[in-house]
């Protein structure tokens, strides 16, 4: 049959790699012929054995699902201490708490997750591999040695927020997350450099009340992420978050003294819970 012949031709043209010069994850071997670090409960090993070869098939680039890029340059900063986009009440990786980490729930296909089990469509990771990730989280979800992911990006800027700018989310909002490109100077994280205020209007926003009383902290285990915790969860309304990058009253900067250079703000709307 003609159609079978066409598919046979496709079979002949299809190319499965011989793996020469690649490690067991398909990554090019180093100059010394080395490559393929064994899977251990360290971030670099997990990156090389799981995130890079498996997850970045989808979670890479500007269109990564849920904005979660798992390539080497972004993965740590977007995982550790950062609320999941699907369930903002749960950290993607909660250092010391694998059961409370959304990544584990998604990898294990636990009940209550949003969307499908990861990797989407399988094959799913062996439990032994998931257990290694569990162990890394139990050990505090330590950053790669030398905090390479941060040193690679010396600039200091806001790279992500949750809720995102112009987002509409459902009440109550208990945490606001601001992710920076490098480690934040903890001594500068306070009410003078970070502010949440209710606003009204569309094009020109006007504060409608005094700033929302909040506490501020560096995300557990992730010094590049700041958590803003309103004392009372935010109810319905529109809110603006301002990160001070200039001014006499205080400006946020990285531990290496690099400032934002300008104020950064984002606005989101909280809708009543259904």
């Amino acid at each position: 049959m003609r159609w079978a012949a066409v598919l046979a031709a496709a079979a002949a043209a299809a190319c499965t790699g011989n793996g020469h010069g690649l490690d067991q994850n398909g990554q090019p071997l180093g100059p010394s012929g080395s490559g393929g670090v064994p899977l251990t409960a360290e971030f670099t090993s997990i990156q090389d054995n799981v995130f890079t070869p498996i997850c970045t098939r989808c979670h890479i680039g500007a269109s990564a699902p849920e904005g979660l890029q798992l390539d080497e340059a972004h993965s740590y900063g977007l995982l550790v201490g950062v609320p999941s986009a699907e369930q903002p009440g749960v950290m993607r990786v909660a250092p010391g708490d694998p059961d409370g980490s959304y990544i584990i729930r998604k990898l294990e296909g636990a009940s209550g997750i949003s969307g499908g089990r990861m990797p989407l469509g399988g094959p799913y990771l062996p439990q032994s591999t998931i257990n290694v990730i569990r162990q890394w989280i139990s050990d505090g979800a330590q950053a790669p040695q030398g905090v390479a992911h941060i040193e690679a990006r010396p600039a200091f800027e806001v790279v992500a927020t949750s809720p995102s700018d112009a987002a509409t989310v459902t009440a109550p909002v208990r945490h606001i997350v601001v992710v920076f490109s490098s480690e934040v100077e903890a001594a500068l994280v306070n009410w003078t450099t970070l502010q949440v205020e209710p606003v009204s209007g569309t094009e020109f926003l006007t504060p409608t009340a005094t700033p929302i009383p909040s506490t501020f902290e560096i995300a557990p285990g992730n010094p590049a992420t700041v958590l803003i915790n309103p004392v009372s969860p935010l109810g319905p309304g529109k809110y603006r978050v301002t990160v001070r990058g200039t001014g006499d009253s205080g400006a946020l900067a990285s531990v290496s003294g690099v400032g934002l250079g300008a104020d950064y703000d984002f606005v989101f709307t909280v809708e009543p819970a259904r």
């Binding site: 003609r2 159609w3 066409v6 598919l7 496709a10 299809a14 190319c15 499965t16 790699g17 011989n18 793996g19 020469h20 010069g21 690649l22 067991q24 398909g26 090019p28 070869p53 498996i54 098939r57 989808c58 890479i60 680039g61 500007a62 269109s63 990564a64 699902p65 849920e66 904005g67 890029q69 390539d71 080497e72 340059a73 972004h74 986009a85 296909g109 009940s111 209550g112 997750i113 949003s114 969307g115 499908g116 989407l120 469509g121 399988g122 094959p123 799913y124 062996p126 690679a152 990006r153 800027e157 806001v158 790279v159 992500a160 927020t161 949750s162 809720p163 995102s164 700018d165 987002a167």
Partner: protein
């Protein structure tokens, strides 16, 4: 789309639909077989999701082996003249066999979706929602409003939606769906303009470019698609430019086409994606060739060959991955489909996880 409140008989509608030669259905191969565009059977002009009246009637009469006569009016999804509902449920049994790993099998709820459309101004103004209600907690996949021109030659859509990029395959794990990152798991907030006239079908979208993730900066994603659709063949181009500031840049190119030869519908698509991250550029490519043989009404045999080049800086002879699928689809009665198949993954010898056999049986109920 306006919805007749009741259908005393299917025949007039089918006749009318048969005379209105344009557009299609949930699976792109059906569109190729019928010579339709997506909007023939779907509320969404770019396909997928809720079926319109034609799609509902087609699914009850021309898809199943046997139509069970209920003695009642046909289901059209119409709650009343303005509101329509629909849904899809896919429940699976799968067995996964990965080299050097114990095989695993399980029952799983792949997905259950419910759709709602409100046509406040019939045929002109529509508000639509697609809610993924299982597995896990409910997630809004699509929610948009769409305005059609009086001639139905063009439309404007705004809200959260799936972006157009090549064939909207049912299998979200197909390589061409994965490498572009644009599929039915990654809706984005966008504004879409569409043009459908004669054989032409075109869309242009401007979106946040974060696939539902946090938004930073002012970067936007531009996605465009142009198709030329003929009764027995079609050809399309897709382009995606994502300059979502802090996330890096991505450019994706797609070429896709379909051809009908007797009872077989052929689909082919090739995507090339270039990612510019903070450290380096990565070029990835995926290809699909699919043949769908309609054995008889209600029976389809799908065979597909796929190629993945995960990093084009490395020869495909070294790092290429392939996937073969053989899927039998049986629609015994209206609203019910059974699917059974095997997917065979092959990759580099040293990567066990690239060597997988996936066997599955799926119950697909829809309305």
């Amino acid at each position: 789309m306006s919805r007749p409140g009741a259908l005393p008989s299917l025949l007039p509608l089918l006749l009318l639909a048969a005379l209105a030669a344009t557009s299609a259905r949930a699976e792109p191969y059906l569109a190729v077989q019928q010579g339709f565009k997506c909007t023939q059977c779907h509320v969404n002009p770019t396909g997928g999701g809720m079926r319109n009246t034609f799609g509902d009637v087609f699914a009850q009469t021309l898809m199943p082996m046997k139509h069970i006569d209920t003695g009642q009016e046909a289901w059209t999804g119409a709650v009343n003249s303005f509101i329509g509902i629909g849904g899809n449920m896919r429940y699976d049994w799968t067995m996964t066999d990965v080299r050097h790993q114990p095989s695993a099998n399980q029952f799983s709820m792949e997905q259950t979706r419910v759709y709602l459309d409100a046509s406040m101004i019939p045929n002109r103004l529509i508000v639509y929602a697609d809610e993924l209600v299982a597995p896990g907690g409910a997630t809004n996949e699509e929610a948009w409003a769409m305005y059609w021109s009086a001639s139905h030659d063009w439309y404007v859509k705004a809200g959260q939606m799936y972006l157009p990029f090549g064939f909207r395959l049912q299998d979200q794990t197909a390589y061409v769906q994965q490498v572009s990152g644009i599929n039915m798991t990654t809706p984005d907030r966008a504004v879409e303009a569409g043009y459908l006239h004669g054989p032409w079908d075109a869309q242009l979208d401007v979106s946040n470019g974060t696939a539902g993730g946090p938004v930073v900066g002012n970067g936007k994603q531009f996605t465009g698609q142009l198709s030329f659709v003929q009764p027995i063949w079609r050809l399309g181009l897709a382009l995606d430019l994502n300059n979502s500031a802090a996330s890096g840049r991505r450019t994706a190119y797609g070429l896709f086409g379909g051809l009908k030869t007797g009872p077989i519908a052929w689909l082919a698509q090739a995507d090339v994606v270039v990612d510019h991250t903070s450290q380096e550029s990565l070029r990835t490519a995926g290809g699909l060739l699919e043949a769908d043989w309609m054995i008889s009404q209600g029976q389809n045999l799908k065979l597909s060959a796929e190629q993945l080049a995960p990093d084009l800086s490395v020869s495909i002879r070294r790092n290429g991955q392939t996937r073969w699928s053989l899927v039998y689809e049986l629609t015994p009665i209206q609203f019910l489909q059974l699917r059974a198949g095997i997917r065979y993954y092959d990759g580099i010898p040293q990567a066990d996880i690239q060597h997988e056999r996936l066997y599955f049986v799926q119950l697909h109920a829809f309305f």
